[in-house]
């Protein structure tokens, strides 16, 4: 479980997060939703400590990140996996080497075992064997996402962060990636946090939903309630697409 308490974060006087508090539960796909520019990525990177927050607490099962020293943060990172919005694979390494990289950094095992683990992870995300030796630039966006997921789960993380996992993907591939994250979360009892602005993902895999508007947490709940909330900003977000307008009509 990750608890965020009264977090503020600003960049050169531009306050992006305003007193955000939220709870992210273990073994669930927790979702942070909101418009582009609302502060989802900043919140996620603050939780991981990639941004230093101005104020507040971030507790990983009771351990407060802002209190930690650099080497303690590094130990914590051993338990963290992250899937970046643009995949962030290392250009100069092959697919297999990308997945082996975190293993080389952290795990004391032999080269043979690392390779085995990397191949296991790549198979788990359904990547074909023939792609293992290719460079990231030689494979499709959907495949890059799979590799990035494999890299994120290589060290069997307790906490998994996914920043807009289906940005830039077609609807069908998006669905597959979403479901993959959902399966992995349940299979390995991970505390997963997913940033998204996609209502389809929310309806597909959202289990504990946090709505951010202009850096403020405006709502937290589950997907059954999301259609019946008395919050203008959330309604605008939820019913932005024609499909969900229809859903609302049918419900009324």
């Amino acid at each position: 479980m990750i608890e965020v308490k009264n977090v503020d974060k600003s960049f050169d006087g531009n306050q992006v997060l305003k007193n955000v508090s939220a709870v992210f539960e273990t073994g669930k796909t927790n979702m942070i939703i909101g418009q582009s520019g609302s502060g989802k990525t900043v919140l996620m990177k603050s939780i991981i400590g990639l941004h230093r927050i101005d104020k507040g607490r971030i507790e990983y099962d009771g351990r407060n990140l802002p209190d930690m020293k650099m080497n303690e943060i590094r130990l914590l990172r051993r338990e963290v996996g992250m899937l970046f919005q643009g995949s962030a694979l290392f250009d100069s390494l092959s697919v297999l080497e990308n997945v082996m990289y975190p293993l080389e950094m952290f795990s004391p095992t032999s080269a043979e075992e690392m390779k085995e683990r990397a191949i296991f992870c790549l198979r788990r995300v359904n990547l074909e064997e023939k792609a293992f030796g290719l460079a990231p630039s030689e494979i499709s966006g959907g495949m890059q996402k799979r590799v990035a997921i494999a890299r994120a789960i290589a060290l069997q993380p307790k906490y998994l962060f996914c920043d807009e996992p289906n940005s830039g993907l077609d609807p069908k591939t998006s669905l597959i990636i979403d479901q993959l994250i959902h399966e992995i979360t349940h299979e390995f009892e991970i505390t997963t946090i997913i940033n998204s602005h996609d209502m389809n993902s929310v309806m597909e895999i959202g289990e504990n939903i946090i709505f951010i508007e202009k850096g403020v947490k405006a709502w937290q709940g589950n997907k059954d309630d999301i259609f019946h909330v008395d919050n203008q900003a959330l309604n605008d977000f939820v019913f932005a697409s024609e499909l969900y307008k229809q859903v609302r009509k049918v419900n009324q």
Binding site: K45, I48, L50, R74, R77, R78, V80, G81, M82, F84, Q85, G86, A88, L89, F90, D91, Y101, P102, M105, F106
Partner: protein, 233 residues
């Protein structure tokens, strides 16, 4: 910035990056250094001779002026200004691209001290390579001057050779090498700084790289005066 200058936690990683950087920042700069040095050596010798046609001046004047200009300023300061363009923009855009594509964040997540891992090998490699580039440039600059004697009738090669050996001050070479190593440090660290702290998109990487070149060059000019005052006074 403090995080750049700590001992690499994985020596293996430093020594994996270091040779690559030696090659990229050092060896790959050789062609441009060679071309510029030969041509500047040539034109400087020609101009010096043509503009000092006073028969009262001794025959060694041209060679001497060419040599000392190369030794004191061209092969260090001017060369570094040129390399600030080539190497500075290379470093800033490479690190900047890694920043905006979140590869730096990815390194951090994996517990890597990204500043140390990405920046230190570049700075060390460039500072180590710089004296070789400078000596290479001095040599080829003098060769360029020699060609004035060979290809034109402005000057005889004999006069030139006497000139470049006349009143040689070895300290000038030392001064030049010291200076260039400081400049190499400035170029690589300024560029790394702008790359590492870029934020935004491809356009911002371009801006970071321009800033790296402009500010690196200004700092070089400023430090040139400072170092010269300290070392030659």
């Amino acid at each position: 910035m403090k995080r750049v200058f700590v001992l690499p936690d994985r020596r293996k990683m430093f020594f994996r990056q270091f040779p690559k950087e030696l090659e990229k920042l050092g060896l790959q700069s050789l062609p441009i250094v060679a071309i510029i040095s030969v041509f500047i050596g040539f034109i400087m010798t020609m101009q010096t001779k043509l503009n000092t046609s006073n028969p009262l001046l001794p025959v060694y004047t041209t060679g001497l002026v060419t040599r000392d200009t190369l030794l004191l300023e061209f092969s260090s300061t001017i060369l570094c200004l040129i390399l600030a363009g080539k190497v500075g923009s290379n470093i800033a855009s490479e690190i900047g691209t890694m920043r905006i594509t979140e590869q730096i964040d990815a390194l951090e997540i994996m517990g890597v001290n990204s500043a140390n891992y990405l920046i230190l090998p570049k700075i060390v490699a460039f500072v180590v390579m710089m004296p070789f580039l400078v000596i290479f440039s001095m040599g080829l600059g003098l060769v360029g001057g020699y060609f004035v004697g060979v290809l034109t009738s402005i000057l005889t090669t004999g006069d030139y050779l006497v000139g470049i050996q006349y009143a040689f001050v070895p300290f000038y070479v030392f001064y030049s090498l010291m200076k260039s190593m400081i400049f190499a440090f400035i170029i690589s660290s300024v560029a790394a700084y702008y790359g590492y702290y870029s934020y935004g998109g491809a356009l911002d990487v371009g801006k970071a790289s321009t800033n790296a070149v402009v500010n690196g060059s200004i700092l070089i000019l400023f430090f040139n005066i400072l170092i010269t005052k300290i070392m030659l006074n």
